[in-house]
């Protein structure tokens, strides 16, 4: 059975709203992996989760929901409390997230639900909710045929890149992630690791390439262009993404985390800027598009 990758939200930093951004999409990060297993597998809780939650609850196939969380910045988690299936007591929702740096994900999640801030009554949330901690770099299985690998990315705290494997196909999400060179060490523990390892930058990059090896599709944070790149903001460029994906033998690269100021022409320009080179290197390139699905196998 195929592994399907569905993009419900592709906008970076915050949800936007301009009509000239609606070809590629305004909702913030939300990605779904569809398999023939009896659970839903969703990455992050950006605003793309909300229409998806509504459509799931109208036509619900499973009562098990698994969330894999990259990190807890607002654009990646703000919509979680409004996920409609959380309101059904027959549902079980499990959150996988990295081990805590400053606060546990469970605390950060419950903080969103406090009555003083939550614009709906928290009592409507009735599902069984579980929290699982993921050691960065570790792997885990979900169900019978899905395995998930993780890799710590170059972004604040412990931000996790994910690789979802199913029936010999793999789809990966690398967001949010900044270039590691020139001492731009953003992740928890990286500065210390670099002090103890003069090859840290090389090892990090090779590790990422190995992590993505021969994946069918990689969704990669390409918020910036070469001209606009601010490496210490925590995001990458199409050229960097293409370079990594080519070295990893990735079949398809989806440019992701479209900047809030990018209109549809800007996003298309990012694709166009690497299209020719990507073709020579044998990597398909597209812009991550809200509502689009890619089927593997």
């Amino acid at each position: 059975m195929p592994l399907k990758l569905c993009l419900n939200g592709v906008r970076g930093s915050r949800p936007t709203d301009r009509p000239d951004q609606m070809t590629f999409g305004c909702n913030s990060t939300n990605i779904e992996f569809k398999t023939d297993e009896d659970f839903y597998l969703i990455l992050d809780g950006g605003t793309g989760l909300i229409p998806r939650g509504k459509s799931i609850s109208e036509n619900q196939k499973h009562s098990n929901f698994n969330f894999i969380i990259t990190h807890t910045h607002w654009d990646h988690i703000l919509a979680l409390p409004y996920f409609k299936p959380l309101q059904d007591p027959n549902n079980t929702v499990t959150f996988y997230s990295s081990k805590p740096t400053k606060a546990k994900f469970e605390e950060l999640f419950h903080r969103l639900l406090k009555e003083k801030n939550l614009p709906i009554p928290a009592s409507v949330i009735k599902a069984n909710i579980n929290f699982k901690t993921v050691e960065p770099g570790s792997s885990f299985n979900i169900g019978n045929s899905v395995s998930v690998d993780t890799y710590q990315l170059n972004h604040q705290d412990i931000t996790l890149g994910y690789r979802v494997n199913h029936n010999n196909h793999s789809a990966c999400v690398i967001t949010d992630n900044a270039p590691i060179d020139n001492g731009n060490y953003m992740g928890e523990g990286m500065k210390t690791a670099a002090k103890n390892n003069p090859s840290f930058e090389k090892d990090f990059t090779q590790g990422l390439i190995n992590f993505l090896s021969k994946a069918d599709t990689v969704v990669y944070d390409t918020h910036f262009t070469n001209d606009t790149l601010k490496a210490d903001w925590g995001h990458s460029t199409p050229e960097i993404a293409l370079d990594i994906c080519h070295k990893a033998g990735v079949k398809r690269l989806l440019l992701f985390h479209h900047a809030p100021e990018d209109d549809d022409n800007d996003v298309q320009a990012k694709v166009d800027s690497i299209k020719d080179r990507a073709q020579k290197l044998g990597v398909e390139v597209e812009a991550a598009t809200e509502g689009k699905e890619w089927v593997h196998g």
Partner: protein, 289 residues
Amino acid sequence: MGSRLAVKFWGTRGIIPSPRKETVVHGGNTSCIEIISNNAHIAVDAGFGISHFGETFPEAQPVDIHIIFTHLHWDHIQGLPFFNPVYFPQTNLYLHSPLPKNILKQELNILFNESYSPFNGIENMPANISFHKINHGDQIGGVEISYVELQHSLSSEDCNPCYGYRFTEPTSSKSVSIITDHEASDNQANKKVLDFILDSDLIVHDAQYTHEEYQEKKGWGHSSMDAAIKNISLANGVQGLLTHHDPSRNDIDLDILHTNLKKKYSGASFEFAKERLIYEVNLKAKKTG
């Protein structure tokens, strides 16, 4: 320069941002209402709509901006980290509420918390940010402000009330009232609100639910459209602006509802607030009736 009083909606949506083709006319951004006078930059609430308000200010230029908070629900504060002037040291940003200043600061600090954002607290942002407790009769840029407590289910111990505001242009005594978020019903709290907004020229009112929806959502803290229109009529409001649109509500739904409500309440003057539209108060017009 002559006086001016107007409102401009930068965000009309309640609960969660709802950007899609079907909402572009009324807007998908969460709550932000600009109070336009000639002398000050004032916004009520900082939902995501505030990011577009922020785009109107040239970068890195000295400016004074005032944000007044009705309450602390996410849809009324979540846009603050995306308000561009926050990132420039030339900005003087005044944050106002009837709450004690330290409480307002403490509560808004979560938006810049190091687990949820790349920042280390609101006081470490580049802008010069200060917190102010509103007292009745305070003036900002010559506009007088008073406030009233609204009915908005905030019952647990660590909750603070939701406040409505009335902005008065002193020379003409014309006023704009902002009543959101508020659940209008036949109770003491609503009577106080009616007294507060009496004879206000422009009344912005929470109208999230249809009459049918409200039957299932009593106690959730929002008004039905009918109750909002009734409040506006009872207050002799010259113009009513209905806001806090439900996330499910598309432009076409609001147009149909408007037509039907106009038939039902033909004597009342009300519109569903649209993002980016400016609604002026005619400072010269005399009140009729």
